[in-house]
Symmetry: C2
Subunit: 195 residues, 2 copies
């Protein structure tokens, strides 16, 4: 088991509705030592890839992406969830639906920050139905850039996102894959993930 998997087993909390709460270390309170371990692991798994940029999505992907970026020595860009007055009109956009919030959001990235020479590593905290990730992929492709790889902290293996993404040919590296959860017993079953 890697550090993240151990942490999920120790500190993850299962809630009704297939919700896995990891807010004590991943997406509300954040443990940057853990994020550094995750960065080392992704650096190994994406060895040989010439990553030029990390792209993530606000809000909970940002902290992980910034710490991980230190291991790849590249800038981070985060997709924003709504158009703000501080963003120029020249934007890549995609529509994503949030599993957590039950809302649809337009996500946007300024055209200044991704171009056709970029080899992008996508980073996010969760992969469930894959909507957020498909939105990020759409933005990278609209820029004519390449998705070199995708690093996810926690994949919900019982939802379809991972399969959709892998079937599309992307190198998807989820550091923990939750195969099943039971909120009544608090059990979390992690899939095989031994590389």
């Amino acid at each position: 088991m890697n550090c993240l998997e151990k942490r999920i087993i120790n500190d993850g909390v299962v809630k009704e509705g297939n919700v896995l709460k990891v807010d004590s270390f991943l997406n509300h309170q954040m443990d940057t030592d853990l994020f550094n371990e995750m960065g080392k692991e992704w650096k190994k798994r994406f060895e040989g890839k010439q990553i030029t940029k990390i792209l993530t999505i606000e809000a909970s992907g940002i902290g992980i992406a910034c710490i991980v970026a230190q291991h790849f020595q590249v800038p981070v860009v985060f997709a924003k969830k709504a158009k703000t007055i501080n963003l120029d009109g020249d934007l890549y956009t995609a529509e994503v639906e949030s599993f957590t919030h039950k809302t649809k959001n337009q996500i946007v990235v300024s055209k200044k920050f991704i171009n056709e020479n970029d080899r992008v590593l996508l980073i996010d905290d969760f992969l469930a139905n894959g909507c957020a990730l498909l939105g990020l992929i759409q933005i990278v492709e609209a820029a004519g850039a390449t998705v070199e790889g995708i690093g996810i902290a926690i994949e919900k293996g019982f939802q379809q996102g991972g399969q959709i993404i892998r079937n599309s040919g992307y190198q998807l590296e989820s550091l923990a894959i939750v195969e099943s959860m039971d909120w009544e017993t608090g059990t979390i079953n992690l899939g095989e993930n031994n590389r």
Copy 2:
């Protein structure tokens, strides 16, 4: 001039309406080397303070806070802008108005992650009218914790936030203070900030 000030002069863009765009390095694309320099500087300025936690606010504070947390060896907590189904009911809340988005938001922090023993360093990218910061202070105080210091990347010296915060007795360390801007000439005047 420190690294951030140089970067603002080189890469900051002034827009009509006193908007300073620093999205190429601070709050859309993010330069983690710069954030590390900022972390070193704040570590120096808050020397002797027993910081136990960094508190910031989504979204653009998160990346800075996570990198800076490595210099203080403490966890980061970010205040969320709306109540999500993944947050327990037991929350500290405050209402803040966004200068950028022209909206009012409820910000929330789970009571699990700040307690009366915490000595909190607040970190954010911008300080203008101070609303976001006053919301964070309100949350720390509701928890019975102590605000040990406040680290801001860019303070708009011509708005009232900095004065309000300093007059309340907090140690506010803004790494760059913009005294005035002129969008027609693109001029950015930074205040004295030589420690």
